[in-house]
Symmetry: C2
Subunit: 415 residues, 2 copies
């Protein structure tokens, strides 16, 4: 079973937007078990849209199209589909009423351009759009079951789940289940090497996605029943966890590392303070982006100058003089100072050289010292990260959060 | 003159990556003056690649393809192009030598799979790749001048500029010039309304791109000579600036708002400290992501708890009690306290409710108080931002930086 995606719009052919709808649909169709052969974009040109519809409809079993359902003159999808099918457009009165009511609720009156959004090729099945004015529709187009959705991402995604998935999932004989494991701390090549043989042993497909600085591992199983697919995927995922270790595999699905750290701190009734130099607030930003972070995060300092390291974290000028701001000694002193200042159970400190300047032979760009202080004392570690300024900062921030997670887990072993 | 882009790779048809290469090439070809009719993606299937090449080569004047030039068995581009042209693949000894030398410098020996990267369709013009192993090539394919580049973004972009642009820019009779203005503070619809009539009056095309929380305005002019296009684009850009005002148009081209603020502070020998509550370190992170930020940014505090607002910024418990943490009074006190603490010329404070919880009728989610303190006193302002937690935080951070810019410009008017 092959599927294709067609996205229309000059905002895409002019490169004003990246085709996020295309990637979403490609991923969703792949997860359903389709082989996606094309993710095409055409501009708002009736001839090119018609040719693309004919071609993709003849080549694939499923075709999902986005865009061109709006009220303006460059919204051509319904018209083009009607041309390909050789049928007229017909107005759907029920859709017209829904559009009118929706506009009225927003305090607007319906223009004739909006009425056009209730015109569909004769014989089309209409797909309701709970989040916007433009309904979608589906038709048989050549070989393909073809679906036409609006280009607004939130509307498109909701309609894909509600209307397209139920209509096409039975086309794929096999059922699939995917487990997504989130890892941090090993390069992609090493993750790959460590997982050799799992695909064959468990009858699954492993997929890797580098989402800097993490590597996601997708464990996809297909089987005749959904339960069997889930079991196989989960068994293989346990093997992945065992081979990579729990320090590397920090979570599943949508959970982010900052979220895992916040939940862990909250579950153990621990509080955290952060002192950052080279990461410049990035770690605090990642932590506070988690809703409810205030239950465990007390606050942070960005001590970008030596004077502020002394003033805010109590790092002595003599220590800074003796070892330099980027040193294990200063990282430890910053962590201990932040803990005192905020009265937190735990504290984290980061000091390093993000670049592009400021490196020396002894302390190269990318060198980052981390320290975490708790009742059990202070744990320090350092790494030289590769990459540009923002990449070094991002890697350092994740390494710092991973160190907090490790220290907390060692303090109070998992129940 | 029409152009098309074809990107190959199952990582794209499986939706593991968004097609950023496609968007880059579409934008670059549009800026050169081509009408881009298609940005297509096919998987690593020889039949589908061949059909896409035939189709796009016959329909367009220029075709730029990415991907499929690597050493593995699913890298099929050269082979497919040779099939379409009906010519054999021939090994290019000079390319083979370059590949061998490059691998040796990296401490590796050349495998036969790498040697394949030196095979090109007979008659192809080879395009050198200074940043990677895989060279590209160009051929005439049907009607199109066709270019084949690697899928690695940095390699692809460098080769596009160095090899493709010089070969195709003469195909477009008109010369174009684009000025990109960066704006913050007005919604897209209002930017649009204020600029009504400029396109006709100046003979330019205006393009808008919402890059949350900014709106970019692209002023594209085409003319017979490059100079004329530049003059026309720049004249229209001056009119855009005049209509939106310098508080809204903060920069041109690649310059970010944090960068503009850092350069402005540095030029006026001012130093900055930041006290953040709801933005949780985001503003410090944006500022310190600018190389050289340490010349004007002294440091920041993330005072997420009331106790830390008192301990670090000297906000009195009575003030917090009387007005609440999210109030103009507390924002002012935080800014003034941070200025004292860091000894900076300027200080910025932000306190608000990012959500999703914590809002009340009087102080809704999205309410953010900002304050900037300088020798001239303290300027405060507040706004209710819409959007989810991360959107509110991002909008608040940009509003805060825009307020710093305004205060600095008022302190010391532009020379």
């Amino acid at each position: 079973m092959t599927a294709a995606v067609l996205c229309t719009g000059t905002e895409l052919t002019r490169g004003e937007l990246v085709n996020a709808n295309g990637a979403f649909l490609a991923e969703a169709l792949t997860a359903l078990g389709f082989e996606v052969g094309a993710v095409d974009v055409v501009d708002d040109d009736a001839g090119r849209i018609v040719r693309a519809l004919e071609r993709l409809g003849n080549e694939h079993d499923v075709l999902v199209c986005t865009g061109g359902l709006g009220p303006t003159t460059d919204d051509l999808t319904s018209e083009c589909v009607a041309r390909v099918l050789g049928v007229p457009l017909e107005r759907d009165e029920a859709s017209l009423e829904t559009i009118r009511a929706r506009l009225e609720r927003a305090g607007r009156t319906m223009a004739s351009s909006n009425a056009k959004q209730a015109d569909f090729p004769r014989g089309a099945r209409i797909l309701s759009n709970p989040n916007g004015t433009a309904p979608g529709f589906s038709v048989k187009l050549g070989r393909a079951a073809a679906f036409f959705l609006p280009g607004v991402p939130a509307e498109m995604r909701a309609m894909f789940s509600a209307s397209v998935v139920p209509a096409i999932e039975s086309l794929v004989a096999d059922r699939s289940h995917q487990t997504l494991l989130r890892t941090f701390g090993l390069p992609e090549s090493e993750v790959n090497d460590r997982l050799t043989g799992i695909e064959v042993a468990h009858g699954v497909t492993l997929g890797y996605r580098a989402k800097l600085p993490e590597i996601e591992v997708k464990v996809l199983a297909r089987a005749q029943t959904r339960d069997e697919a889930r079991e196989r995927s989960e068994a293989a995922a346990r093997e992945v966890r065992a081979r990579l270790g729990d320090d590397v595999v920090y979570g599943e699905g949508d959970t982010s590392l900052p979220e895992v750290v916040c939940r862990l701190l909250e579950a153990r009734s621990l509080t955290l303070a952060i002192a950052e130099s080279c990461t410049g607030g990035l770690i605090a930003e990642l932590v506070t982006n988690v809703p409810g972070a205030s239950r465990s995060f007390l606050g942070g300092v960005v001590t970008y100058s030596n004077a502020s390291k002394t003033e805010l974290c109590g790092v002595s000028p003599a220590l800074l003089e003796a070892h330099g701001a980027v040193s294990e000694e200063v990282a430890r002193a910053m962590a201990e100072g932040a803990r005192r200042r905020f009265g937190s159970k735990l504290s984290l400190a980061v000091t390093g050289i993000a670049g592009p300047d400021g490196g020396t032979a002894e302390k190269p760009v990318g060198l980052v010292h981390l320290a975490v202080t708790s009742d059990a004392g202070t744990t320090a570690k350092h790494t030289v990260f590769s990459g540009g300024r923002d990449v070094v900062r991002r890697r350092a921030a994740f390494a710092a959060l991973a160190l907090v997670r490790r220290v907390v887990r060692e303090l109070t072993p998992a129940r």
